[in-house]
């Protein structure tokens, strides 16, 4: 038991060093000007997933857990994918077409702004 725990302590130390190194790598990668912006974003997300895997598998002991926990997590991943991607698919027409979402100075242009505009324009109706 004791030697088993001591083995785990060694793993925790290595994971700690790995997480710090990957954090440095994430920051360093963000300063590189990739010719395609998605390469930089993809790299950043990939490193985040590696770090997430290290935390989940070692600190949260997901590398050796009961099957019920994995079942719960499988359903969580399924629902997470729905929450995460379905709105994007649903609004595919609007993506990259900002004219569908009236934006002004970084905010969605509100309807009452338009009404105020008409009133200022001299309309008394």
């Amino acid at each position: 038991m004791s030697s088993d725990i001591k083995h785990h302590i060694k793993i925790y130390r290595n994971v700690f060093i790995g997480l710090l190194l990957f954090t440095g790598l994430t920051v360093g990668a963000s300063y590189i000007n990739f010719s395609v912006i998605w390469v930089g974003i993809g790299l950043g997300i990939l490193i985040a997933f590696v770090k997430g895997y290290l935390v989940a598998s070692n600190f949260m002991h997901l590398n050796n857990e009961k099957s019920l926990i994995y079942t719960i997590l499988a359903f969580t991943v399924l629902f997470f994918v729905v929450v995460f991607f379905v709105p994007s698919i649903w609004n595919t027409q609007e993506l990259h077409s900002p004219e569908h979402i009236p934006m002004q100075n970084g905010e969605v242009f509100k309807e009452n702004n338009q009404q105020n505009y008409h009133q200022e324009d001299g309309g008394h109706h």
């Binding site: 725990i5 925790y12 985040a48 600190f59 019920l68 969580t76 995460f84 709105p87 970084g106």
Partner: protein
């Protein structure tokens, strides 16, 4: 009457009850943050002027320091649980104390960041990016505060359970640890998403 399966494993699940409970709770937390991440991506992709909304005003050095602090707190948290497994209460108190110190350190750095933004006239109402930034980091900070309350209880008055039910107390620290590692996990994704990409 003693509540069953605080220490013993249930024959049907193979888990003690609190462990099943915390994983169900964490699943709901994934959905909470997942919805907000989804909203962030939708808003970002919908707006070609996103780059002008103050992301460059965020302090990458401070956020990097905060990432290191939170990762350190995750290690000290798991070490506090290991110390209980090794039946060393003094070491447990040492590591749990370090975890609390790191947690407060994280909040202090966050406070410095927020104050700097407010002093420069950057508020959640300023634009969509800052609204997303303050919502996500604010919600995460609330989770850190909740973790401090739980860990603070186990560092102080809750520790006396060790004298009567050491196995149950060890399980409690494992549960608190799972929550704390989840808080760390969320930050691991928030950091590049908000500050770097």
């Amino acid at each position: 009457m003693k509540i069953p399966y605080n220490e013993d494993l249930r024959p049907d699940t193979g888990l003690y009850n609190a462990k099943l409970g915390i994983w169900l709770f964490l699943a709901s937390e994934v959905m909470l943050f997942g919805g907000l991440f989804s909203a962030y991506i939708m808003l970002r992709l919908s707006d070609p002027n996103w780059a002008n909304y103050g992301q460059s005003a965020l302090s990458v050095p401070l956020a990097t320091l905060n990432t290191a602090v939170l990762i350190t707190s995750s290690v000290t948290m798991v070490m506090s649980w290991v110390s209980l497994k090794l039946k060393d209460l003094n070491k447990y108190s040492f590591y749990m104390g370090l975890t609390l110190l790191c947690s407060f350190g994280f909040l202090i750095i966050k406070y410095i960041e927020y104050t700097s933004k407010f002093n420069h006239g950057l508020f959640p109402s300023t634009n969509n990016f800052l609204a997303v930034y303050f919502t996500l980091t604010g919600l995460h900070a609330i989770h850190v505060i909740a973790g401090i309350l739980v860990n603070g209880y186990f560092f102080g008055p809750g520790k006396k359970m060790w004298n009567t039910e050491p196995e149950r107390f060890t399980n409690r620290i494992e549960i608190a640890g799972l929550y704390w590692h989840f808080v760390d996990l969320v930050w691991i994704f928030l950091f590049p998403a908000l500050y770097l990409l």
